[in-house]
Amino acid sequence: MTVDNPTTGAGRPPGAASEPPTGPPTTGSTATRVLGVITLVGIAALVLLGVFLTPADAELGDTIRILYMHVPTVSTAYLAFVITAIASVMYLWKRTEFWDLFAASSAELGVLFFALTILNGMLWGKITWGVFWRWEPRLTTTAVLMLTYVGYLAVRQIPNDTRTRGTISAVIGIMAVVNIPITHKAVDWWRGLHQEKTIFGTVDPDMKGLQLFTAYLGLTVFLVLFAWLLIHRFRVAWLAERAADVGVDAAIAERRAERAVPSSAGGAS
């Protein structure tokens, strides 16, 4: 992975090569195509196994079919926020745009996966408890944590120069990730320790054979999907910055042009 050159801001040496655009027209590349194919095949297998072929669970009945997709979704979400935190620390240290955009892309995916987690949790709840929402530890924690990261995305929408936006996002990314274990602990105690039927049992050991395989298949498929999404989301963010930069060189040239004619146009103000 080539790391960005050490200049900190978005500026880069003027006079970029201007030969006709020959680069690939999309954010795709061989790597993403390979990942893409693997993801699609994996999803197909997961659907086949999870929904149709595996037997109903002794204890959970058919609701386990949601779990096959639900547990990987929430694990990917937490992975996304851990990546955001690590990238945020790296940004504060290295100050390169690469880490800033990497953290932001991962955070956005994390919020998306959290939203799906809550959706699945509610559907699962409808079957198990007969009601969409119960102040059940996992659902509550997910909802609260998602809000902290919605704040992260809200901050990034505010027009700001890249350095300020990067630093503020990095700080929020770190503050929010530390909140995850604390909120987990607080919500667990809040609902009392008795372990009611919670939707997030780890991939319970007494699952065997096909069920266990499907559970792990789900995890791997979602990880590959996450990687594919992250690469694309990062490239979109990177291109967005470069597209904004295109104007900078023109602005610098135009600004220097003012110098040649000092007394007429005067500085833009």
Partner: protein, 221 residues
């Protein structure tokens, strides 16, 4: 350390001069206590069941107002640049702001506790636990609040952003403080100290994190 005291005294003197905390935030919190009474119809005995939860929700809202005020003062008149040039260590500025915020918040909480005791006739059976929970929770609120206050103060829509950023993060504090008070009010059996421990972890974690993160925040955010 001397710098932190300097910043704290400056903040408290600023508060004493402008009286925003006592003059506006405190009356606001008492007002909300009344509003809840109107909303929850005291006769039906609902109030005493929700007293501690209500108390801490009011404290959280008041803290958002106070934090927003504490940092909008710094963002005005180019003072943020002066702070960056001043030679004060960022961690010292952070510690000073957190201390000043905690002192003001505790003052509001004290008056609020009296009001709640009178309006909702609650009796705090174990005052030691009550004060303990309040102290640790307030430090936690101030510690996390100061970081978000600093970064929201210089964003154009910072005032509306601060609650969105801060309140979800303070969820564990709200849970811990409320349940701690429930035990203190004798409305819940069981030990109170686990909640104090949870609040303590929150406070310590965010104090250290805040001190570390204030440098990049001040440096070029």
């Amino acid at each position: 350390m001397r710098d932190a005291v300097l910043v704290m005294t400056k903040d408290l003197r600023l508060e004493w001069r402008s009286k925003v905390g006592i003059g506006q935030v405190l009356p606001f919190s008492l007002l909300v206590v009344l509003l809840f009474a109107f909303a929850l119809d005291p006769e039906r005995g609902v109030l005493d069941r929700v007293t501690s939860g209500l108390f801490w929700v009011v404290v959280l809202f008041s803290s958002v107002l106070m934090i927003e005020r504490a940092f909008s003062v710094e963002a005005a008149d180019g003072i943020f640049d002066a702070l960056r040039l001043s030679g004060l260590a960022p961690a010292a500025i952070y510690a000073g702001k957190v201390a000043a915020l905690a002192v003001q918040l505790l003052a509001v909480e004290a008056v609020l506790a009296v009001a709640v005791a009178v309006f909702y006739d609650t009796t705090f059976r174990t005052p030691v636990l009550t004060v303990g929970v309040a102290l640790v929770a307030t430090v936690g609120i101030a510690a996390a609040g100061a970081v978000y206050g600093a970064l929201a103060a210089r964003l154009r829509s910072g005032t509306t952003l601060l609650p969105l950023l801060l309140l979800p993060l303070l969820a564990p504090v709200l849970i811990g403080a409320t349940r701690g008070f429930e035990v203190a009010l004798g409305r819940e059996a069981g030990p109170g100290w686990p909640w104090v421990a949870l609040l303590g972890i929150f406070a310590v974690v965010y104090l250290t994190l805040g001190a570390l993160l204030f440098r990049p925040l001040l440096e070029d955010a």
